[in-house]
């Protein structure tokens, strides 16, 4: 089953918590954070209870069926009779169901209370804007000069609750990192609040979960939870502008970027300030491109720049019509955006 393509996220997979990995990176059989752990407990509880109910009803049904089974054609001419009232079945069955259900409702409401708001004040608020088909992530800093924008990969410090402000921009999306929190829709015209907290360092995968158009299937998000100091260092690094180009090819690449890409993309430091597509100032610090569709490698970057429409049909990234040397120059340039 495992092809070469399956190795794409080798780096990522190594980081993903092993227990999550066992059922795949999007599974929520096991979770890791106070915004979701009570839900997981509820899920296991209700799931097991429901399986037990199905098993019990199944056994009762089978017993009823084979208790006094009648032969096929002859059974139909048998005299009808009201043998036994059967009503106790309804009283007892409904009574027991109601009690079980009440228990479920109470557990549900308690869980809702636990996950509705974080237990402690959050130190950090991140703004997430959902676009067709990628995530814009804005870290709001104090003072404002510490604010920056990135895309699709969300870094958070381990062990602290983080607030998310979800802002809609085009159609409805839904932000979901299964191992960290349930879904919250991102709805244009309103701002929804959510929160996450990661207990353990790792890479947590998520995906848009409200149908949003052609590339709804390719709209992943990642949360990278890391120790606080590492997180601070990352933030500091993201604030820096891009390095000036240092070779002739890179100068050409930067120039091409300004003329061909800057209408949509920002690269701080070279005067590219488009806001329609992801901010690429630190593109190479991200593990994936195109909202988790490809691993961030020189080959996939080059293919993506050359013909995004073939790789992710319908994506807002247009076909670029670059000559081979131009493509190489732009690809080389974007690889310097560390």
């Amino acid at each position: 089953m495992r092809s070469a393509a399956a190795q794409r996220f080798a780096v990522l997979s190594a980081l993903v918590t092993p227990c999550v990995c066992s059922a795949g990176p999007m599974s929520y059989f096991h979770t890791s954070g106070s915004a979701v752990d009570p839900i997981t407990a509820l899920g296991w509880g209700l799931g097991i209870a429901c399986l037990a109910i199905v098993a019990l009803i199944g056994v009762l049904l089978l017993a009823a069926l084979f208790r006094a089974r009648a032969p096929k054609p002859e059974g139909l001419v048998r005299t009808v009779s009201r043998s036994g009232s059967g009503l106790p079945w309804i009283y007892i069955g409904t009574g027991v169901s109601t009690v079980v259900l009440c228990g479920m409702v109470i557990w549900t409401l308690l869980t809702l209370k636990l996950v509705a708001a974080p237990h402690a004040a959050t130190g950090l608020t991140i703004e997430i804007r959902a676009h067709q088909w990628w995530w814009e992530i804005r870290y709001v800093g104090e003072p404002p000069a510490r604010t920056f924008v990135t895309a699709n990969e969300l870094h958070i410090p381990v062990g602290t609750p983080v607030s998310l402000r979800l802002i809609g921009d085009d159609v409805i999306h839904s932000f979901w990192i299964p191992a960290l929190a349930g879904k919250t829709d991102v709805i244009p015209g309103q701002t929804n609040n959510a929160w996450i907290e990661a207990d353990k360092p790792g890479v947590y995968r998520g995906q848009c979960s409200e149908y949003c158009g052609l590339q709804h299937a390719h709209m992943s998000a990642f949360v990278i939870a890391e120790p606080k100091r590492q997180f601070e260092a990352w933030w500091q690094q993201q604030l820096a502008p891009s390095q000036p180009p240092r070779s002739a090819q890179l100068v050409i690449g930067a120039e091409l970027f300004r003329s061909r890409c800057a209408a949509c993309h920002t690269v701080r430091g070279i005067g590219a300030g488009g806001i329609l597509g992801p901010d690429l100032t630190h593109l190479m610090s991200r593990n994936t491109i195109a909202a988790g569709t490809f691993r961030n490698s020189p080959e996939s970057l080059s293919r993506w720049i050359a013909n995004a429409q073939a790789l992710k049909p319908g994506s807002r990234m247009p076909q670029m019509d670059l000559t081979a040397p131009q493509l190489d120059a732009v690809t080389a340039f974007v690889q310097t955006l560390r």
């Binding site: 795949g24 059967g86 309804i90 409401l109 299964p178 709805i187 244009p188």
Partner: protein, 645 residues
């Protein structure tokens, strides 16, 4: 005024061959195209409904199989994203609106007058109208398919994705206009069921003697009357947003995308109950026949049916748990969504008790009904899980919900419907279906269904979102999806076997006779297939089980089935009083008429005009429709009272 006869005391008489012959001359529709277009016979209309719904089931099923092929493995490119999006939208629309609802309307259309001891529905021509509109609405929608312009925003059609800014083509207009058009058909049909129930029961058929199917369809019809306006209004508002520049859902102008979700689900959730309650009713009526005893707990089951519909109006928000609503409303709607399972528990235990205390005969129909109980429970408990708000934050919009809704819609609609076809086929055609083929098709369907859909629960828990056209291999969803795909083809094969059985049994099945199952209710007291006039004399009903009175011996009252009211002076039927069903007046039933077909065609013109922006065409359609209505309602001079409908 002429001296027209306006009062008459109907005679009580025995049925005789001469009477049957006379009634046949009065009631039979002429053969050929003329009869086809003008017939108002509820039985013909019912069968048309069922056949048309099954054709849509096949189309929707083929769409599903294509999607299953695309999802059988990661990163497949059998379908483009455009094609996939149109397919899942059309699949949902087709199955929910063009199959699940109409097929039950078909059964109820066919069975109601027979179950109630009447000659037709209260409004036979409206009955024909609702069928023609249903057919034309389905055709209207499917015209988009070969053009590659089918709706592609899901059956739930959320704006802003469905608004002109993000979806400028005519795709969504097909959806909106098609749904409004279809809504007319469903509302008209629902009104017809309600009035038929109030007016056309046989003398003695008091409300505590009605079969549960009647309760189910009644609850569904009242639900439809009150719920369909919500989605029709939503469609009108969205159509205005798209074509006339209003701002209801336009967030740039403070419009509210969520308004659509409220209107859609205020309709959508009651609708879910409307497309299962009649099916539950069919099980409640047919299961006892094979258990050789009356249903356990008639009254609780009837009350459960009605209360399910009522609570069904208070749970729509559970489709919107993740939209950022305040915790208090989440808590309320979560509790309501879980409480709604209590009436379902009543029915479930009633069925199990019926089997337990009865002596079940394992016919094919019975196998479908008995297995349905298990599928109903699985779909029910997974519904409880999704009703638990915090858990729903995880489950919603994953394949867990896909699994849940298919257990509900296939388990609670398709399985009972296929069982019901086996059960009532002798009445429809006069012939029995093959038990051997039936058993094969049952086991193939049952196994295929569970192999296809049970794994979807798991892959949903593994995080697979709905409505994605592909997925990457490292997510670990490959194997489970392959299993689902294989299961879905088995399920389809089972359905194909069932159709094969229908086709050959229609010609070669054993002759059935009036009552092949020795069942209890009135439809089995008339010949199979049923004559055009249903009952030669209007029967007098003394109990809930008119054909089992002798065997049960519970009372000395006896229904009188061969001796009853003689109504043979033209197309006549008996109207009775609302609660206790005492004779009230003699209804003059309308003859065959082209008006319903003409009116439906005129309305179709209106919608085509709106779709294509040929406003003059819409105006012509509207004018033609108004003329047809005027002609339809024109008073008949002899009684000086217009035959209103």
């Amino acid at each position: 005024m002429t001296n027209a006869v306006i009062n008459r005391a109907p005679l009580l008489a025995d049925e005789t061959p001469a009477l049957r012959e006379r009634l046949a001359r009065i009631w039979e529709t002429p053969p050929g195209v003329r009869g086809f277009l003008s017939s108002v016979d509820h039985k013909k209309i019912g069968i048309r409904y069922i056949v048309t719904a099954f054709i849509f089931l096949v189309i929707g099923g083929l769409e599903a199989l294509l999607m299953r092929l695309q999802l059988a493995h990661s990163d497949l490119q059998i379908l483009s994203p455009q094609a996939y999006d149109q397919l899942f939208t059309m699949h949902g629309f087709t199955m929910i609106f063009l199959y699940a609802g109409p097929v039950l309307s078909g059964f109820s259309n066919y069975l109601w007058p027979l179950l109630l001891g009447s000659r037709d529905m209260a409004f036979p021509r409206l009955n024909a109208l609702s069928y023609w509109i249903y057919l034309l609405a389905g055709v209207f929608l499917y015209v988009s398919f070969p053009l590659g312009l089918s709706p592609d925003a899901g059956w739930f059609n959320y704006p802003p994705y469905a608004s002109a800014a993000y979806n400028p083509g005519p795709n969504i207009d097909f959806y909106l206009l098609g749904l409004i058009f279809l809504g007319i058909s469903t509302s008209v049909g629902a009104a017809n069921f309600v009035v038929s129930l109030l007016r056309t029961r046989a003398p003695g058929m008091s409300i505590n003697r009605m079969p549960i199917l009647v309760w189910g369809t009644l609850a569904a019809s009242i639900g439809n009357l009150l719920a369909i306006p919500a989605v029709s209004l939503g469609c009108i508002l969205l159509f205005m947003d798209r074509q006339m520049g209003t701002h209801f859902f336009d967030f740039g102008q403070h419009g509210q995308p969520l308004l659509w979700q409220h209107l859609f689900w205020m309709f959508g959730h009651p609708w879910v109950y409307a497309i299962v309650l009649p099916a539950l009713g069919m099980v409640s009526d047919a299961l006892p026949t094979f258990c050789r005893r009356p249903l356990v707990g008639y009254t609780p089951v009837a009350l459960a049916t009605v209360s399910t519909m009522m609570i069904g109006f208070g749970v729509w928000l559970h489709h919107m748990f993740a939209t950022g609503l305040p915790a208090l409303s989440l808590a309320f709607f979560s509790a309501a969504s879980m409480v709604i399972t209590i009436p379902s528990a009543v029915s479930t235990f009633a069925w199990i008790a019926t089997i337990w205390t009865g002596k079940p005969v394992f016919t094919t129909a019975f196998k479908f009904f008995a297995s349905f109980i298990l599928l109903f429970v699985i779909g029910g408990v997974s519904g409880v899980m999704t009703g638990a708000v915090p858990l729903d934050f995880q489950l919603t919009d994953t394949y867990f919900v896909v699994a849940h809704l298919h257990y509900v819609l296939i388990g609670i609609n398709v399985f009972p419907v296929v069982g019901a076809i086996h059960y009532w086929f002798p009445k429809f055609t006069g012939r029995m279906m093959s038990e051997r083929l039936g058993s094969w098709s049952f086991w193939t369907m049952f196994a295929g269904f569970n192999v296809a859909f049970f794994p979807m629960h798991i892959v949903g828990l593994m995080g697979m979102p709905r409505r994605i056209y592909t997925y990457s291999p490292e997510l670990g969803w490959d194997t489970i999806n392959l299993v689902s795909t294989i299961g879905s083809f088995f399920f389809a094969a089972g359905i194909a076997l069932f159709f094969w059985n229908v086709l050959i049994s229609r010609r070669r099945g054993a002759l059935a006779g009036d009552n092949p199952w020795n069942a209890a209710t009135l439809e089995w007291s008339v010949p199979s297939p049923v004559p055009a006039y249903n009952f030669a004399v209007i029967p007098l009903v003394a109990s809930r089980h008119p054909l089992w009175e002798e065997q049960l011996g519970e009372s000395i009252d006896r229904s009188s089935l061969r001796h009853g009211y003689l109504l043979d002076q033209g197309r006549e039927a008996l109207a009775t009083t609302v609660l206790d069903a005492q004779p009230d007046l003699i209804l003059e039933m309308p003859g065959d008429s082209y008006a319903p077909a003409v009116l439906a065609a005129a309305l179709a013109l209106v919608f085509v005009g709106l779709l294509t922006h040929f406003w003059w065409l819409a105006a012509c359609g509207l004018f033609a429709a108004a003329c047809t209505v005027a002609a339809w309602l024109w008073p008949k001079p002899e009684t000086a009272s217009p035959a209103l409908v």
